[in-house]
Amino acid sequence: MKVWSWVVYPLAVVVVVLVSANILFGNLGLWDKLSASQTQLKKQAEMATQLRAKVSRLQSADLVTEHQNLDYLIQILPPDKNLPVLLAQIQQAASVSGAVFESFRGKVGEVTASQSGTVADALQLQVTLQITDLGQLQRALAYLESSLPLLQVKQVRMTGTRVDLVVEGLWSSLAHLPAGVEYAVPDTSADLAQIRGQLKNYSTLPVSEIPSETGVNSTPFQ
């Protein structure tokens, strides 16, 4: 028996290694836990990095200035249909060009917007102007196309001194933006400066021409 006693040590080691390894990596799932906590840590670290970048970007922004910037953008592209303002823009265009604003008709549909903020309908008016020549129409179009809020002339039909225009007042509802760490805070300064530069010569309605919402039926059409 004493002859085989030297085998006890390696056998004991083999047994200890196998049993402990089975317990640690099998029953207790140590390896799985280690992998899971490593993955968790990686995710947390990435989230911390994104959050740090977002916080840094947000802390560098001045809320008052950013509100003013957003107000400016809303002035360019309003969040809802504003028929009185569109009418006032058309009247102003006629007045500036010397044309006579004869009549208008249109349809204001239901305001529906998808979650992404895509506009599902439009504010369109069919306008009739009396003009003396093409130059007058050109001046009216020039005013309309450099007027804020933005609008789009979709159709022109000039027959002699009568012009029928289809004018669309552009608007875009405020988007439902999902919250989450993964959504980066965009740096809008360059785009904003570009838009400001591009629209610097655009005119807004004189204050006296901006219709008050009070007493105005904003949906006169059926």
């Binding site: 030297w6 085998v7 040590y9 390696p10 080691v13 200890v16 290694v17 402990s20 390894a21 140590l30 836990k33 280690l34 906590s37 490593q38 968790q40 840590l41 947390q44 670290a45 989230m47 911390a48 959050l51 740090r52 977002k54 916080v55 947000l58 802390q59 922004a61 809320l63 509100h67 910037n69 957003l70 953008l73 809303i74 360019i76 592209l77 093409l134 129409l137 050109q138 179009l141 020039a142 196309e145 933005l150 789009q152 159709q155 022109v156 039909r157 000039m158 027959t159 552009l170 875009s172 405020l174 988007a175 933006l177 919250a179 760490v181 805070v185 965009p186 809008t188 785009d191 591009q198």
Partner: protein, 172 residues
């Protein structure tokens, strides 16, 4: 009586070498195993400690984000609106410029029709005292709008020449 046990000196030496080798190998395996276990324990401890630290950082940053939520909303609304404005400006046709292009000396545009569609189509009626002027006018429009032109030239009862043009495609 036959002795089956290895009694020779060579066999004893071989057995001693085998014992030594097995013992050394076992020790190496044991030490290696203990080292691996220690490494894993250390790694586990490090990960736990680091996770606690990073979680605390995330909690702090999330709290800061909550305080800055209004700023984030304003900036993201700005970005969304800027994209819409850019898209609108990019696709908008400058009709005032188009009207300006249609105007020409010696020619009076009496009718003009433009409809927003693809490809863009414009119908123009112009009158002038000379057929040559109207022909030149049509050629000029074709060049300026880079478009196809269908033209009909006629002489009116009042002695004026009239040209009807249909401009298809190109850029108004």
């Amino acid at each position: 009586m036959i002795n089956l046990l290895p009694t020779s000196a060579v066999a004893d030496a071989n057995l001693a070498r085998l014992k030594h080798w097995v013992s050394t190998f076992t020790t190496v395996v044991l030490v290696g195993y203990v080292l691996v276990l220690a490494g894993l324990a250390g790694r586990s401890w490090y990960l736990a400690k680091r996770t606690t630290t990073v979680s605390a950082q995330v909690a702090t940053l999330t709290s800061q984000m909550g305080q800055l939520a209004e700023t984030e909303a304003v900036l993201r609304q700005q970005d969304d609106r800027l994209k819409s404005i850019r898209q609108t400006l990019d696709r908008r046709v400058d009709l005032a410029q188009t009207a300006s292009t249609l105007a020409a000396a010696n020619v009076t545009v009496t009718d003009w029709e433009y409809m927003e569609q693809l490809p863009p189509v414009q119908n123009v009626v112009a009158v002038g005292s000379s057929a040559a002027n109207l022909e030149a006018y049509a050629t000029n429009l074709r060049y300026k709008f880079a478009t196809d032109v269908i033209k009909t030239l006629s002489l009116r009862l009042d002695g004026q020449w009239q040209i009807k043009l249909q401009l298809t495609g190109g850029k108004p």
